[in-house]
């Protein structure tokens, strides 16, 4: 264990949705600059973890604690968590008709800068940055004018999420299956986007089903989430093991009834 202060510390987290317990005692510690991959079967609670961390309505924490940069994360409103540097790239990004991407991004960046006491960015500078971000994720600049995710294809939505990450420069990025539904070229673009943002003061939680993303984004740690708990942790080689053997060998008992899961 190094002595660096943790960025994110989750201790014995229990959380539920609509009275149903989904996260059942989860511990995780992330230091600045680390990349953690979370893998696990469908319904394990991976997306739920992202929602709980970002404070989505309806997701309630039953017990446990989460700190971000030493601050109690669970005590904050959703937008304050975002302003504190937490970013979630959604597995299924929602459409907001009529609200242009650029307008939305500028408002987000403004809100976050203001919360951090930074000066507002000028529209011209912002536009320049946004265009560069588009280029980096290989989205035509015209997408800035389109409604947020409005009529985007699945892959475009994912890249749009990544573009937002590039502009918001968060401390902790949670990417929820940002690779699913992407062809190999798009996958590389996503990986390059993430790699370009890797730095000593930025950490990632990469939720994925596939080892192939981890060929491009080398994780420092790999965790297996199953039935609301981390059942195994290891280094990058764990992902290869999972690829070869699936998840079944990790589960003491078989996953609960599929219908429930």
């Amino acid at each position: 264990m190094s002595n660096t202060k943790s960025l994110l510390t989750i201790k014995d987290l229990h959380a539920s949705v609509e009275e149903k317990q989904i996260i059942k005692g989860l511990d995780l510690d992330i230091k600045p600059g680390e990349v953690h991959a979370i893998m696990g079967p469908n319904g394990a609670g991976k997306s739920t973890l992202g929602y709980v961390l970002s404070g989505r309505d309806g997701y309630s924490v039953d017990s446990g604690s989460v700190t971000l940069d030493g601050e109690d994360l669970l005590d904050m409103e959703t937008e304050d968590r975002a302003r504190a540097g937490l970013f979630l790239a959604f597995q299924y990004p929602v459409e907001i008709p009529g609200v242009s991407n650029l307008e939305f991004l500028k408002a987000s960046v403004d809100a976050q800068r203001q919360a951090r006491g930074e000066d507002a960015i000028t529209s011209a500078d912002f536009l320049k940055e946004a265009k560069a971000a588009c280029k980096q994720v290989n989205l035509p600049v015209a997408f800035l004018k389109r409604g947020v995710n409005e009529g985007f294809s699945g892959g475009e939505k994912k890249r749009n999420e990544l573009m937002q990450m590039l502009l918001l420069k968060p401390k902790l990025c949670i990417l929820d299956e940002t690779d699913s539904g992407l062809d190999i070229d798009a996958l590389q673009i996503v990986a390059e986007g993430v790699n370009s943002q890797r730095s000593a003061d930025r950490s990632f939680i990469v939720v994925t089903h596939y080892q192939r993303l981890l060929d491009y984004i080398k994780p420092d740690f790999v965790h297996v989430l199953s039935d609301g708990k981390i059942v195994k942790s290891g280094d990058a080689s764990l992902a290869l093991e999972l690829e070869a053997q699936g998840y079944a060998w990790l589960q003491k008992e078989p996953v609960e009834d599929e219908l429930e899961g």
Binding site: S54, G55, R56, D57, G58, E77, T78, E79, R81, A82, R83, F87, L88, F90, P93, V94, E95, I96, P97, G98, V99, S100, L102, E103, F104, L105, K106, A107, S108, D110, A111, Q112, A115, S123, F126, L127, L144, K145, G147, V148, Q164, L168
Partner: protein, 478 residues
């Protein structure tokens, strides 16, 4: 979450102040002598008085319409004063210097400076205060282009033939109850004439202000765009915050001659009453335009005020290839009630109409779209497209759609669609996850919902409309 949204939409009514001006106001009451007095005050020609009186007699025989989905206590027309004007306006100030500074201050407070140097370049304003026009700016500049823009009371003296020819030609005297009443008692309003082939060099606008208590406002606007001309006209309105309801029954007539184009935009922000429905303006307005060959009339409205709105800006597409458009955002909250929409009457061949209506209901309000699309037998090849979307915010409000679709021509095509939705939890979560506070998130989502309409507004108005919905358009890509 609804609470947050409500909070986001709640706003102070900033225009709710009362101006301290001494006014000459008629005693409440309505009979022929009141009409004679109005006509006399305005020094009107005899025919105008006769016209008013005949409208009044017809009105007496008519019944108040009850078909709209609005509910308000019966209006006592005898308890309303039908004329009120600042005393200082009595000797008709010749220039701005002679106008009571308090009046100028009123408009300045409303964001409408009437001193030309301070004004937004490119907009001429007719400022109507209760029953009179206070001042009309940029008249010289407009006159150079041959454009007439003046109070209708003045037009009756200077251009009686034009007024006589067109007044009541689009909205007949007994068109409906409130229109008939307006014909009888209208006090002032704007008159516009754009000569043949002229593109009006600036935006024209009228700003209506009700100030006096217990008075009704009955203004009348007449816009004539002669062949091949073009004009963009804006209209704004506010009133003080009072506990009593006040009646506003206006008539607007537009005439677009062959190849002419009129763009008419309204930002209606009459006092809406308080959260419990106390006070507010009854806004019963008849607006209609007639399009001759190849002409185009485009109505854009942002309706956020009034306790009751009853308003259907319409187009009679008489000439072949003429075009009618209606873009509307209606936001109701508190106990507001809006019943608004349009009529598109297709008479000529290949006429086209587009209707985009966005209704947002919050609080305990009710918001209805009511529209008529009629294809007459001669409307060969005519087309209509209608899209009505409603957004409900909270479970105590109502959103309604009543479209009448009538076709009597087999080659005409009509398409009508209506949807309802709400601000979804997912959208709110996405916005907040990106760091936006809930208020900002709502206004952005609501703004997005209205986008198609806002983009039809002239720039300056788009900004004002955005502010009205507590929405900043800042950062939107041009």
């Amino acid at each position: 979450m609804t609470e947050q949204i409500d909070k986001a939409l709640a706003r102070e009514y900033e225009a709710g102040f009362v101006s301290d001006v001494e006014s000459e106001t008629f005693e409440p009451g309505l009979d022929e002598s009141v009409i004679r007095r109005i006509s006399e005050m305005k020094g009107e020609p005899e025919w105008m008085l006769e016209w008013r009186l005949s409208a009044f007699r017809e009105w007496l025989e008519m019944e108040e319409p009850e078909w709209a989905l609005v509910d308000y206590p019966k209006i006592d027309f005898q308890s309303i004063s039908y004329y009120s004007a600042p005393k200082s306006m009595k000797d008709k100030p010749k220039s701005l210097d002679e106008v009571d500074p308090e009046l100028l201050r009123t408009y300045e407070k409303l964001g409408i400076p009437l001193i030309e140097q301070q004004m937004l370049a490119g907009i001429a304003v007719d400022a109507v205060f209760d029953s009179v026009s206070v001042v009309t700016t940029f008249r010289e500049k407009l006159e150079e282009a041959g454009v007439i823009f003046c109070p209708i009371s003045e037009a009756l003296h200077k251009y009686p033939d034009l007024v006589k020819k067109y007044i009541g030609s689009v909205v007949p005297k007994k068109d409906n109850y409130y229109a008939a009443l307006n014909c009888a008692v209208f006090t002032d309003g704007s008159f516009v004439y754009i000569p043949k082939g002229t593109r009006c060099p600036m935006e024209l606008s009228t700003y209506f202000r009700i100030n006096e208590q217990n008075t009704g406002q009955f203004e009348r606007t007449l816009i004539i765009a002669d062949e091949g001309s073009h004009v963009s006209y804006l209209e704004g309105c506010t009133a003080p915050q009072r506990d009593e309801n006040q009646l506003h029954a206006a008539v607007v007539e537009l005439v677009a001659m062959d190849n002419a184009e009129i763009k008419y935009s309204t930002v209606q922000n009459w006092y809406p009453g308080d959260e419990n429905g106390k006070g507010g303006i009854y806004n019963f307005v008849t607006k209609r335009g007639i399009c001759h060959t190849n002409a185009k009339i485009s109505w854009t409205q942002v309706e956020t005020g009034s306790s009751v709105t009853w308003k259907y800006p319409s187009c009679i597409l008489k000439g072949d290839n003429s075009v009618g458009e209606f873009y509307s955002v209606a936001l109701t909250r508190g106990r507001q009630q809006a019943d608004t929409g349009t009529k598109m009457i297709h008479i000529g061949k290949n006429t086209k109409s587009t209707i985009i209506s966005k209704g947002i209901s919050a609080g305990r309000s009710n918001n209805s779209y009511r529209g008529l699309v009629r294809m007459n037998p001669g409307a060969e090849g005519a087309r209509n497209f209608t899209q009505c979307d409603s957004l409900l915010i909270g479970d105590q409000c109502g959103a309604h759609t009543f479209p009448y679709v009538e076709s009597r021509n087999p080659s005409a095509i009509i398409e009508h669609e209506a949807t309802t939705s709400k601000v979804s939890d997912e959208q709110m979560f996405l916005c907040r996850q990106r760091g936006l506070d809930p208020e900002k998130a709502v206004s952005m989502i609501v703004n997005g919902f209205c986008k198609e309409v806002f983009k039809e507004l002239p720039m300056e108005f788009a900004v004002e409309a955005g502010k009205l919905l507590e929405i900043s358009l800042e950062g939107s890509v041009g």
